[in-house]
């Protein structure tokens, strides 16, 4: 199942035209470049080819090589070049071809992109959008499927955004390009071909989604918090959970930074139970932060510990094993079942820690 605005709106009139998420991003780039002559797009293979996912298809044709150009194959160079271009007055929208290929640029991102405004007391701001196709589920080989959002969310000065719907892909990217601060825009690869309508989003004149999580489905028993590619999984699990009599609410964060504590906490206060779902490895991941924030703010509303359904703490597996790594509907349902609906302690997956050993250790 893929989320569409038609589902959300329940329209009965003539169905609005459907576009893919990659098409929505392409349209957002087109519209942003039409609206502002300082918006430029560059990266590896983005011009003539239109990007390996064709997200930038036709941009250089329509806006010329001055505004959409291919660069040498060097990610630190691309990001550093964008820093300089932004200092000269441009609003660069740059592409890292794949999640793991952005790592060479990490110093530029963490030491310069994230800090320039701060270290210059606000005199030099960097309105840069770094687009990163991320996550797995497409049968990609190693280094092509990482979920790298925690690295960026941990770095003060970066906004971190990831759309879960086609409409949000358009809206959030337009807002990211308008933002005066650098934005890491993480595009869930496996949703590139999902479909939805962007008609109302394109008609909007202002965008106001940053820091505002969306309640994708209302429920009363459990809150599933998810973002990007995991929202779809959470929605499927929520549907399936009705068979067990659970009414599940799904919160789509949309932006990890800024984080919408208000919407998440309001939902958990209502439901009393919370599961965080994400594809990235769980250890020290964004889900840990969310679980901490929820219990810091809604402890007395919780009937059970906040659980996480995350990727395994392993390097991203080869394609034929990725289904075991990725959070799926069954694993989410299992987590929901473990939310202490009765007084029986659930110790199935706890490490066997000796009570007398200060070292502990799994057996």
């Amino acid at each position: 199942m893929t989320l569409t605005t038609a589902q959300a709106g329940g329209a009965t009139a003539a169905a609005p035209p459907q576009v893919t998420m990659s098409g929505a991003i392409n349209r957002a780039l087109h519209d942003a470049m039409t609206a502002d002559a300082d918006v430029v797009v560059f990266g590896e293979d983005v011009a003539t080819l239109g990007g390996v996912f064709r997200v930038t298809d036709g941009i250089s044709r329509d806006f010329g090589e001055d505004r959409c150009f291919d660069t040498p194959l060097a990610e630190a160079g691309i990001v550093g070049f964008a820093v300089g271009m932004a200092m000269a007055g441009f609003r660069p929208v740059i592409e890292m071809q794949f999640d793991a290929f952005a790592y060479p640029a990490f110093e530029q991102i963490a030491s310069h992109v994230a800090k320039m405004r701060n270290r210059t007391k606000g005199r030099v701001n960097l309105p840069i959008v770094i687009r990163i196709p991320f996550g797995g589920g497409i049968g990609g080989v190693e280094h092509h499927c990482d979920s790298s959002e925690a690295y960026y969310a941990h770095t003060p000065g970066l906004k971190v955004v990831t759309p879960a719907t086609v409409e949000d892909a358009y809206t959030l990217l337009r807002e990211a390009i308008n933002d005066p601060d650098p934005v890491i825009f993480m595009e869930p690869k496996r949703l590139y071909w999902s479909k939805g309508s962007i008609e109302s989003a394109v008609a909007a004149t202002t965008f106001n989604s940053f820091g505002r999580a969306a309640v994708r489905r209302e429920g009363t028993d459990v809150t599933l918090v998810a973002y990007g590619p995991s929202v779809d999984v959470a929605m499927q699990a929520a549907s399936a959970a009705t068979e067990s009599g659970w009414s599940v609410e799904v919160v789509d964060l949309r932006t990890l930074v800024p984080f919408d504590d208000e919407t998440v906490v309001a939902s958990v206060r209502k439901t009393g139970r919370c599961v965080v779902v994400h594809e990235a490895q769980g250890f020290a991941g964004v889900g840990a932060e969310i679980a901490a924030r929820v219990q810091e703010r809604a402890f007395h509303s919780l009937h059970a510990p906040v659980l996480r359904v995350a990727g395994l703490d392993i390097p991203y597996p080869p394609p034929k094993l990725e289904h075991l790594h990725l959070p799926g509907v069954e694993r989410v349902l299992d987590a929901i079942a473990r939310l202490q609906w009765d007084d029986d302690a659930d110790t199935r997956f706890l490490a066997n820690i000796s009570a007398n050993s200060s070292k502990g250790g799994a057996v």
Partner: protein, 381 residues
């Protein structure tokens, strides 16, 4: 769409002379003045001699720059600064680079280029806010057309390239002067910056101040290249090497390099051979990695004495002028001493002001917490 099928392999070596000798640097560093300050001609045919006015200005700026450097090092020894990376001995490079630029050009310096920033006209107190501990960058980069001094080495070179390329795209004739030392030529960003600059024909001048040491690591452990000036060739960048303690040669080469970049012919790489007479910082002990004989050798190639000798010989300066410059330098240092004797004001709430254009709700919470802590501290006094 372009189809690149012709000339699968390069057939000939380029024979045009985009700079001095095609892309090649001179086989020996370009020199106008020998170590004693006598006029010589070492591979300098391609470079017009700098004007008398520029040379006299360079002399004055070197004297003031050196006095600033000595003063800042003293402030560090006295504990007024947490640290100071001196550049004593590199005056010709730092002053020459700035005097070769026009007012609207930009500089992308490292932490060691403080003398260059003084020459640029930036308030020395603002330059020293970083080691003073008051701010990450004390000056306004836009007002002074100077990027913050970069500590992650070579990372700012690619900013210079993007900036210069952006200025060119905006139709502005700006040149960017990008600073790097010998050690940082080993960093990946150095190579990415050169490549991007060449591909996009960015109006950038890369100035390598080869001062022979990266903290303690000598050039011989940094590179096997015959000269760092050769590192531009592989990227298609016109390159040169120059005696970095000969202010006349530095100015001559950089004047031409800046003009070359401004004319749209692309970037230039210049290696200036010089020497860091002091330690890496006041915390360094250079006697652990080099002999005093070597330092004495380089003291005999003092850039200020060389230029002074020649300017006096030409009758362009006299005792009275030299005395007046020395006096100006002393006044500059005295003013700096006085202003650095008081703590610079810091605002605790400034911690939160510029993380984002608009603080996140989480930052507002943390600001409220720190504010409450400070108020409680104030109340308990």
């Amino acid at each position: 769409m372009t189809t690149e099928t012709s000339n699968p392999l390069p057939q000939t070596v380029p024979t045009d002379r985009p700079f001095a000798r095609g892309l090649m640097p001179a086989p020996m560093p370009v020199q106008f003045l020998d170590a004693a300050g006598h006029r010589v001609g070492v591979f300098n045919d391609d470079y017009p001699e700098p004007s008398s006015e520029q040379l006299v200005a360079a002399y004055s700026a070197m004297v003031v720059g050196r006095r600033f450097d000595i003063q800042a090092a003293a402030l560090a020894k006295q504990g007024r600064l947490a640290v100071y990376p001196p550049s004593h001995g590199q005056e010709a490079c730092q002053i020459g680079s700035m005097l070769a630029l026009s007012e609207d050009d930009w500089a992308f310096p490292t932490y060691r280029d403080s003398m260059a920033l003084v020459t640029r006209g930036i308030d020395p107190v603002q330059i020293l806010t970083v080691p003073h501990g008051a701010a990450h960058c004390g000056f306004d980069p836009r007002a002074s057309r100077t990027a913050p001094q970069s500590t992650p080495l070579a990372t700012q070179l690619i900013h210079a390239v993007g900036f210069a390329s952006g200025e060119k795209r905006k139709g502005r004739p700006t040149v960017a002067m990008a600073f790097v030392g010998d050690g940082a030529t080993s960093e990946g960003d150095f190579h990415e910056a050169l490549n991007f600059a060449a591909v996009f024909k960015a109006p950038v001048v890369f100035l390598i101040q080869n001062n022979r040491y990266a903290i303690s690591t000598p050039l011989s452990k940094q590179t096997a290249a015959p000269s760092l000036g050769y590192k531009g060739i592989g990227y298609g960048i016109a390159s040169e090497q120059v005696d970095g303690n000969d202010a006349m040669a530095v100015l001559a080469v950089l004047n031409k390099a800046v003009a070359h970049a401004r004319s749209g012919q692309g970037p230039v790489l210049v290696e200036a051979h010089t020497y860091r007479l002091d330690g890496h910082t006041n915390a360094d002990d250079p006697t652990r990695y080099r002999d005093s004989d070597e330092v004495d050798d380089w003291l005999r190639r003092d850039p200020i004495a060389r230029l002074e000798t020649w300017l006096r010989h030409e009758g362009l300066i006299d005792d009275a002028f030299v005395a007046s410059v020395a006096q100006k330098a002393e006044a500059f240092a005295a003013d700096l001493r006085m202003r650095m004797s008081v703590d610079l004001p810091v605002d605790p709430m400034s911690l939160f002001n510029n993380v984002f254009a608009t603080p996140t709700p989480q930052l507002l919470e943390q600001r409220a917490m720190v504010q409450a802590e400070l108020e409680a501290e104030e109340a308990s006094r």
